[in-house]
């Protein structure tokens, strides 16, 4: 067996945390139950990895199998990568998309292989008609670098692709082109949305983050819940700003809804606006050119943090639409210019 493949598998196994080792290996489904039972998982990781590699060699592991293991590892640790969102478009009035997944995959692979002699392309299907694609880039003269792959997650028959680039950015245009052609689109555009949390990106772009719909039954429950809150409160405690508190609560509910927000880590605003000041003078107020500045909001969970700003008394309710439009517009990068 190729030494590089053995090394690749060993390094991948060493990345997997011990708590997830069994789950990942089972998902890989390359080593049989019996083989896994012969392994002592309490050993030091270094020697455990060596044992597993020996078992893989017995089974005749190929580069493709190793790449699949890498995909599975990445699927379990998707938040370790940053994901960009791309939107594809068809020509207006085009025929119905009659492609199936197999056609897409073979077309995608062919396009890349025609352009770059050395490239490793691996696919893994998931439920919900999505496919994970792993691409390891080489050049005309060099074999693919298996340690800097790019990943694509694509839902068939939708215009969206989630791409996590490797550090080898020069291949981005080729990747986009291959995706567009293979999925029978004409154009691909990078959206202003990016995050580590792939599932949140998916929820935002497919508008699945709010699955609370008012049906004939739901409204009454909401009413009851609100009344319940009031009844449980101690009658000896009087809130002086009760009305304002309720107003803030109501406005926040209206804007952010009842559901848990999709998870983003930041929002970035690039301002190119003229400085506006209440004061008559000031150096900055005299400038004709727009002021260029970058405002970045960071948080472990940005949207939940924004949601709690008004009730914590830190900001006025309603919040600026620039902040609240993030999930509905599907953007967390903004460029603001004077109108």
């Amino acid at each position: 067996m190729d030494e590089t493949v053995a090394e690749f598998i060993k390094r991948t196994i060493l990345k997997i945390p011990m708590t997830k080792m069994m789950t990942v290996l089972k998902a890989w489904d390359f080593l049989s139950e019996n083989q896994l039972q012969t392994v002592n998982f309490r050993k030091r990781k270094e020697s455990l990895a060596q044992d597993l590699v020996l078992l893989c060699e017995e089974n005749g592991v190929s580069l493709n199998d190793a790449a699949l293991l890498d995909i599975i590892y990445t699927q379990f640790h998707r938040h370790q990568r940053v994901w960009d969102l791309f939107q594809m478009a068809k020509e207006p009035g085009e025929d119905i998309d009659l492609s199936d997944m197999e056609q897409f995959k073979s077309s995608f692979k062919k396009i890349l292989q025609r352009a770059l002699k050395n490239v490793t392309v691996t696919f893994r299907d998931t439920e919900e008609n999505a496919v994970w694609i792993r691409i390891a880039w080489g050049t005309q003269y060099r074999k693919p670098n298996q340690y800097k792959p790019a990943y694509v997650m694509y839902y068939s028959q939708t215009p969206y692709a989630f791409i996590s680039f490797s550090q080898l950015r020069s291949n981005t245009p080729l990747l986009c082109q291959a995706l567009t052609i293979a999925s029978k689109h004409h154009q691909i555009v990078k959206m202003d949305l990016r995050s580590r949390y792939l599932d949140s990106l998916k929820a935002i772009v497919f508008k699945q983050y709010n699955q609370n719909f008012e049906t004939h039954n739901s409204a009454t429950h909401l009413q009851e819940r609100r009344l319940g809150l009031d009844i449980n409160m101690d009658s000896r405690i009087i809130h002086e700003n009760r009305i304002e508190k309720d107003r803030v609560h109501r406005v926040t509910q209206e804007i952010f809804g009842d559901y848990s927000q999709p998870r983003l880590e930041f929002a970035q605003y690039k301002l190119e606006t003229k400085f506006k000041s209440d004061l008559n003078g000031g150096i900055l107020a005299e400038r004709e050119e727009p002021l260029r500045c970058l405002v970045k909001f960071s948080s472990p969970h940005l949207l939940e943090a924004l949601k709690s700003l008004a009730s914590a008394g830190i900001a006025d309710a309603p919040l600026s639409p620039l902040l609240t439009c993030i999930p509905s517009k599907g953007m967390n990068y903004f460029k603001i210019k004077d109108k």
Binding site: S99, Q157, T158, T215
Partner: protein, 292 residues
């Protein structure tokens, strides 16, 4: 039948909506009585279809009358009707539409800013998934959020109809969703109940509008493998528009089996997928019983 009597009696009293409400209570009552699945579903679906068709034609008539009224009023009074009144009129209109369309699988609830429409899908009497669209009644009318799958061309349909003709928008969306649900149901049934026939995995896509599978058929001791590819070029249908069945294997097909192949192509075009395989099962059973 009591239902026919009810239909003729109530025609004179009240308007169309009152009529519809009475029909609704009738069906609800009769639905509660018919608890047994098989016979009940058949009766219910034929009843339901009759009522639904009658409703559709009545609603169309009413719409025609309302449309005439509306066009005659607007030019003179546009400047005087305030934003609020226009909003209220739209709201009432939507309410009336939703009350009328209950039986076509559409139901809705008015919300503080518009309406939340629920589309119930079904295929041949089996109730399938429900999808929601929450609309905000503003100028322009917009979708607040929804649970429609990403591969249904919602943007296209909204671009075409949402601003100009909300009924058409809802109906069109209903068509796409029902057709998708029907195709998915047929594919799922094939995988679930007739896996024994399949020689390999069923290949499908998100919209379930391209299905490929290999299946084996046994007759009179002979067995042959066929490769079928079903294309549904029209996303609003549940039967394929193109079917190709080819023989898998090196040997040439004997004439009797060539006829079989051709008849299979025809069957897939005209019958639901799982029903075709159900007929294969029946035929095999018959075959077996004849031999023994």
């Amino acid at each position: 039948m009591e239902l026919e009597k009810a239909l003729s009696q109530d025609e004179s009293k009240g308007g169309v909506l009152a009529h519809l409400e009475k029909l609704e209570t009738q069906v609800n009552r009769s639905r509660k009585k018919l608890e047994e699945p098989q016979g009940a579903q058949a009766v219910e679906s034929s009843l339901g279809t009759k009522i639904r068709d009658k409703l559709r034609s009545e609603v169309k008539q009413r719409q025609a009358r309302v449309a005439v009224r509306d066009t005659s009023v607007e030019p003179d009074q546009t400047l005087e009707i305030s934003e609020q009144k226009a909003w209220e009129r739209k709201r009432e209109n939507v309410k009336a539409i939703l009350q009328a369309y209950r039986f076509t699988g559409l139901s809705g609830k008015l919300t503080s800013r518009g309406v939340c429409v629920c589309i119930h899908t079904a295929f041949e009497g089996t109730l399938l998934d429900s999808y929601f669209v929450d609309l905000v009644i503003q100028k322009p009318l917009r979708i607040h959020h929804h649970s429609i799958p990403a591969f249904i061309p919602l943007e296209e349909i909204s671009a075409k109809y949402l601003q100009t003709n909300i009924q058409h928008f809802l109906f069109s969306l209903c068509e796409y969703l029902n057709a998708y649900a029907g195709r998915k149901y047929q594919a799922d049934q094939l995988q679930r109940d007739f896996a024994a026939f399949l020689a390999g995995p069923l290949q499908r896509n998100s919209l379930c509008n391209v299905l490929s599978f290999t299946y084996k058929v046994e007759l009179r001791g002979q067995a042959f493998t066929f490769c079928a590819r079903l294309l549904y070029k029209d996303l609003t249908v549940t039967l394929p528009t193109d079917v190709t069945v080819t023989h898998q294997g090196m040997d040439t097909l004997p004439t009797s089996w060539e006829e079989q192949r051709a008849s299979h192509e025809n069957l897939f075009c005209t019958k639901a997928l799982h029903k075709v395989f159900a007929s294969f099962t029946q035929r095999e059973k018959l075959d077996m019983s004849l031999v023994h």
